[in-house]
Symmetry: C2
Subunit: 415 residues, 2 copies
Amino acid sequence: MAHSDLEVTGRRVGIGAKEIARASNSLRQEALRRAAFRIREQSSAILDANAQDVAEGIDQGLNDTSLDRLRLDANRIEAMAQSLEDVADLPDPLGVVVDSSTRPNGLEVSRVRAPLGVVGVIYENRPNVTSDVAGLCIRSGNGVYLRGSSTSLASNKAIVSALRQGLKDVGLHEDVVALVEDTSHETAISFMQLRGILDVVIPRGGPSLIASMEEHATVPVVLDGDGNCHVYVDTDADIDMAISIIVNAKTQRPGVCNAMESLVLHQDVAGEILARLDTEMANVELVGDERACALLPRVSPAGDEDYSTEFLGLKASVVVVDSLEEAVDHIGKHSSGHSEAIVTRKNETAERFLSEVDAAAVLWNASTRFVDGGELGLGSEVGISTQKLHARGPMGLEALTSVRWVIRGQGQVRT
Amino acid sequence: MAHSDLEVTGRRVGIGAKEIARASNSLRQEALRRAAFRIREQSSAILDANAQDVAEGIDQGLNDTSLDRLRLDANRIEAMAQSLEDVADLPDPLGVVVDSSTRPNGLEVSRVRAPLGVVGVIYENRPNVTSDVAGLCIRSGNGVYLRGSSTSLASNKAIVSALRQGLKDVGLHEDVVALVEDTSHETAISFMQLRGILDVVIPRGGPSLIASMEEHATVPVVLDGDGNCHVYVDTDADIDMAISIIVNAKTQRPGVCNAMESLVLHQDVAGEILARLDTEMANVELVGDERACALLPRVSPAGDEDYSTEFLGLKASVVVVDSLEEAVDHIGKHSSGHSEAIVTRKNETAERFLSEVDAAAVLWNASTRFVDGGELGLGSEVGISTQKLHARGPMGLEALTSVRWVIRGQGQVRT
């Protein structure tokens, strides 16, 4: 795809976006229901395309995790369709009046939610992201320009084709959704520089994508960054609860951004916790500071970089601290600002942790794995923002909107 | 200032920011009241410094508008101090619970307002911006790193010194506020690339600053962009009201971003409006399309670029249209997304305009000059955002905060 094609298609999405921004709530809902219908109707075409992607992935030596993410089956396709229907049932995010007031001069001022415009998303090889993200954008009246990975191109084309037919079925412009079909690195760079075409780019990917965005993006970005998540166990913790949360946060799904990567233990409980983890989390490799190593021989010495690493696997770092302050400092130094948890029985200790740790989500007596749009009641999510601007934490429909000031007067002029 | 000095000072602001983020509401209020006291106390030192800036400005050939913006007097200093006290009296933006819910599994989930961290501001030669912006940042628990223009350096140093003493008076870290004293262009570029030090950069300046930000900034930006504002007069307008709004929007203060730059007239009223403007806005140069030129001889033909130009002076463009749709299209093509107004008696026409025109602010029967933080009830403003992400339109205290997800559980783990 030449750069000019990338622009031409992007401008078509802009035209689609203008139309869907004005579409009624029921029309946007109906478009999603028709898109779900088309996904189900075309499931064999989507599966054929996916089989082709998987075969090429095997030839290219994709690892098992990547192949698992890539692979579709009847259940996964049904889940994609179901998710579109679920998003259709969510309350309309548009037109919501955020606040309103009447000024002393009689001006009626309100702030009202409106779509962002055209949302660009760069993502890896999970084809369900294609329909999930497009569904959220359609529901929120945005156009969406998708740039998926080369390894899922055939699957994405088949899914986008079904989504576009759903839009067409209800008389909406099919260019509300479009896919970048040239998956070269150069085109990805051009994509993140489509100023005036994309209103925002959301990258969903690993450190190399994030680094590339930081270097090249000229379009406003909402960063779905790393999750170097900590669990701190305080001296007043319920030990059984702590073990249960640690094991869940680390091992329930180790490859995701809200998994625990680092364990911080108060010295009063460190010995008991580590002794129990030795058997109850025997499958996890542990690296740690001197005190952790001394308490449990199978903890090997951690390098400084270990405390800042998102292992995304069955490995974690452990440090032992003397106080809550020391725990908060350690987390502050190494946190990626995603999700940080404390386990304690004491209300006062918990509230200090919750207010002093600067992260998108802070948790008390709960697994970091809950930091997810679905789990927190957003219905679905477009990603989890680790930046502070615009949206922070799980991003659902509201994160795909902005506000407009609407001012109604009776001829007022300024003096 | 070498790049490393820029970083070292920035990191000190980061330490100050961490401290003020945890400071109580009353301590932040008291810091502002002491800062106001110090500004008044040191007014003669500030005036001396300002006289030096003005003298150098005259030597360098600054124009009258710039010199007027730069010049301080006793009234302007009192206004700066008063503004700090007014901001102290505004409600605390921190800790506000945006929403909260209890999930089916018992998790208590809330979103709570928290500071952004360190706010960087690049601005031009109005020294009052130094205290206004710093005041808003202190109130909202942020550190602020200021990069003003070279022409106001002495004034800014004197003002920042007073503000820092105010912080110190109440036992807060003085590095909550710092000024970049090297005002070279190279340092400005380095400033907008201070990733990991600045959480956001807000540029307040003209097109060359904006272009430089778009090219070089790697820190998240909230753009305070141009205002190519339109007033559309519909066939059903009250003509007297239309004239009053046009004259106010264009001439009450022509050099600001919310002034009208472009007038769009329905053909039914164009003749009458232009005839009246010929005398009632005789001091404004008009350029326009063929129909406008035909209706009023002193309208000269506009070039295409005129419709996209922010004149910031006594000049405006005029086009005549056949319908609301044509007006909305013209505005959509040339709008900078700042403020767009319609004058009409008809509710239905107004509501269509208000919903279809995509700008930070849309107004019905009111002057575009009202799009301003003070006028819309924010108390004060850090700028007016013309982007859709994070904050749109006038930015007050809320725009200097973000949300954190706070999740309280009873040992829940994910299944």
